[in-house]
């Protein structure tokens, strides 16, 4: 038992750090600090840029959709107008024959 105590005491005895240990730790901490601040900022910029890009694409598609819809409506109205005009021509011809 006393031998085990001796071994534990030996293994867990306080030991002094090597020379310059505290300086090295502080130097590393100082070197990492700016990166830790910059990275979240970049993420926000990237996210904002992605959202902006998506918005521009959506606006572009919405514009194309509106143009296509307006064009389709105009074509339908033109087709109905031509149809109605020709039906009216028939009516005029039928009236002429009846007279």
């Amino acid at each position: 038992m006393s031998r085990l105590d001796d071994e534990l005491r030996q293994a867990l005895r306080p030991a002094a750090p090597s020379d310059g240990f505290a300086e090295r730790v502080l130097a590393r901490a100082a070197a990492r600090q700016p990166n830790a601040v910059r990275r979240p900022g970049l993420r926000w910029v990237a996210a904002a840029a992605a959202i902006l890009a998506l918005f521009v694409v959506w606006l572009d598609r919405e514009h194309d959709r509106k143009v296509a819809t307006e064009s389709a409506k105009e074509q339908v109205v033109l087709a109905l107008r031509i149809t109605a005009e020709k039906l009216q021509l028939v009516r005029e011809k039928v009236q002429q024959v009846n007279q």
Binding site: T69, E70, A72, V76, L78, A79, L80, R81, K93, V97
Partner: protein, 182 residues
């Protein structure tokens, strides 16, 4: 396998055969015409246009209802600078396709004095009218309108005065056309 292909062909052939096609000669007419209108409105285009028309505005609602029954609208109209630019054979190329039993010629107008002719055909499937073709030939103008789907001429008449569409009314029963001025 051959039997299956043959069965498919028998099913698909009548549907293909029923489709009225504009003759190839119409492409040459477009080159001669001073003004050409070529509209090909398939069901998706009609749906897009229908979606744009408002259900709340009375006039647009009527147009929307009219368009909702249509599967396709195809218009070819040529205006020529002088007479004789198109031949009777150009018209016959279409009329011959309308000899099928499902097509009924409702109107046939011939005016030798004015050199004009108008034909209107309706496609009947049972009691339903599922298509219409108008062939209008004037000395310097040729127009063919093909409408697939159910077109209600009364609804078309109700649109008269709107969107530049003249008033047209179709009487039920005897299919006589009755129109009023613009």
């Amino acid at each position: 396998m051959t039997r299956i292909i043959a069965c498919f062909a028998l099913v698909l052939l009548p549907a293909w055969a029923q489709e009225i096609k504009f003759p190839a000669s119409f492409e040459k007419l477009a080159a001669k015409a001073v003004e050409t209108v070529d509209l090909k409105l398939d069901s998706s285009t009609l749906k897009t246009a229908g979606a744009f028309l408002s259900s709340k505005e009375p006039d647009q609602a009527k147009a929307k209802k009219l368009v909702s029954g249509l599967k396709g609208v195809y218009v070819k109209s040529f205006e020529f600078a002088k007479e004789g630019e198109y031949a009777e054979s150009d018209l016959e190329a279409i009329r011959s396709q309308l000899n099928a039993p499902e097509w009924v010629q409702t109107v046939k107008v011939r005016s030798k004095k004015d050199g004009e002719s108008v034909d209107i055909y309706f496609k009947k499937q049972g009691e339903a009218t599922t298509g219409m073709v108008i062939i209008s030939a004037e000395p310097t103008e040729l127009t063919v309108v093909r409408i697939d789907g159910t077109i209600d001429l009364e609804q078309l008449g109700e649109l008269g005065g709107q969107f530049g569409i003249p008033n047209v009314h179709m009487e039920h029963g005897d299919k006589k056309l009755r129109t009023t001025g613009k």
